[in-house]
Symmetry: C2
Subunit: 304 residues, 2 copies
């Protein structure tokens, strides 16, 4: 199976602490490296966790709160110093231009690569990127300002040919592609070999959903239904439920409730308020509702 | 003596590494906290080294290369989140407005404090700040873009009264201030007591000079002559002397040469190129020229 993994670079929230960096994640799929959010120090975290910065394909910015974007100047500057020439795609709300434009003027003389900004639609579900094997979508979250969640999806791969059957039935090379796509094979002697004798199922189409920052909202469930891995913010514990509502954030048990309703396979919680030196309470509250919950932590890699 | 100390928050250079953060220092004098330069992650370093972020009085930005300023958005945002109301003075080249202006528009709605930007004169020596006990000056360095060094000076303190002499000679309170400033005291019986029997010398006026980034230039010597502590960049070792010249940086032995010519008491070197995993070679080359050299390192505190 192709590599599909999520690395946590930062899982704190607005107020940085000595325990957690501001939000950022790397999603690696099929030799492509995607970044979600880019809080201050993200490029330093990439170095710490030995991420291959040159492989960075594009950036997905959920919303324009400082803790999700203040690592951009340093990251872009370093990509420039490293001699990047490939275009860099940034998917972010249109207002990022307020900060991006002067930054690009500032960096402009030295940059050998283009930044292509794709404004996100904050109001509806949207396809952002697609190639032969990957599909990336955005969808609205419920926060104080326009905020998007992201869905990283593999496309279902063709079925795997059983090599031994090629020789056994003398299957010509030109037939193989259609067999991988599900066709049966008719031998010269007229005997039909059913596809499921010739192939094994293709790789399942794995999916990862990122939901941060957001208040509790079941509106997102159709978008994240059944994903293999869900990252959902859990800024607060239940004792701070009112505060969560006021600030359009979620509690750990609300995150777990969403995971349960959406029937996802695994949940990762993060975006911890700086008041929690110890995350046990958040994990405990989430696990009570949705047992397959794990804590995000800087440097942790979640394999799909 | 009043506290006068320099804390290294970052002593790397343009390319961040896992060993060194981008440049930033804190100068604490007389209960006031001054910051020099503010590379990405500076606010995180302040937390790590338990600096009292609320005490921050003003910022001095040597020049507008990204490694010296990309920590500003996060720092200003955090000061705002912490509810700062005191004005914050930023001494920096006038072109910082290109980045500061959109940032302040971005942060504007929430900020309860004013940013007062004082444009630095890149061409000549200038007084930036003065109060009863402190004087801060800037002076030109020699770099690819307009760059300033900074001089933090204590004013000489009044002489210290010897308490026992107040009783012994029945000195009235109203006379004490003039005695501290050097006056003799005439007793009621007409006997004159010389000042040096009544007082001990005041604290020496200590000085700290910051010189980064800069090529080797003896032009700065009149400004930094005899300082107690000199921070001078030492980006390269002697093997990279040509590269140092091309990029308007200094080698370790050039930094030491400046320290020697300026007859400073102690030298601290920093702004290490990312190529040096091990700093022994830089220290060795500097010590050969100027023995009282130390290496800057994140978290290290230099007491004056």
């Amino acid at each position: 199976m192709n590599k599909f993994q999520v690395t946590i670079l930062g899982c704190g929230s607005a107020m940085p602490t000595t325990l957690h960096n501001p939000p950022s994640q790397l999603v690696e799929m099929n030799e492509k490296l995607f970044m979600i959010d880019c809080g201050e120090g993200t490029q330093l975290q990439m170095r710490k966790f030995k991420a291959r910065i040159s492989k960075l394909h594009s950036l997905f910015i959920s919303h324009l709160h400082g803790d999700h974007i203040f690592g951009l100047p340093g990251l872009l500057s370093t990509l420039s110093l490293l001699g990047r020439t490939n275009d860099l795609h940034i998917y972010a709300h249109k207002e990022i231009q307020l900060l991006l434009k002067p930054l690009l003027i500032y960096l402009g003389n030295h940059m050998q690569f283009k930044i292509l900004h794709h404004p996100l639609n904050p109001d509806q579900h949207e396809l952002l990127f697609e190639n032969r094997s990957i599909r990336i979508e955005s969808f609205p979250l419920k926060h104080r300002i326009a905020t998007n969640g992201f869905l990283f999806m593999e496309k279902e791969s063709p079925r795997h040919m059983i090599r031994e059957m090629i020789d056994a039935h003398q299957i010509p090379v030109k037939e193989i592609q259609s067999i991988k796509l599900g066709a049966d094979f008719t031998r010269k002697d007229g005997i039909v070999i059913a596809n499921d004798r010739l192939t094994t199922p293709g790789n399942p189409a794995r999916t990862y959903a990122y939901c941060s920052d957001t208040a509790y909202t079941t509106d997102i469930i159709p978008r994240i239904k059944g994903v293999d891995l869900l990252y959902h913010e859990a800024t607060f514990a239940e004792t701070e439920k009112v505060r969560a509502e006021e600030t359009y954030h979620s509690t750990a048990s609300q995150a777990a409730e969403i995971a349960k309703l959406a029937q996802v396979k695994r949940l990762v919680i993060g975006h911890y308020s700086s008041r929690y030196n110890e995350l046990g309470v958040l994990l405990k509250e989430a696990v009570e509702v949705f047992p397959a919950t794990e804590l995000a932590i800087e440097g942790k890699v979640f394999e799909l």
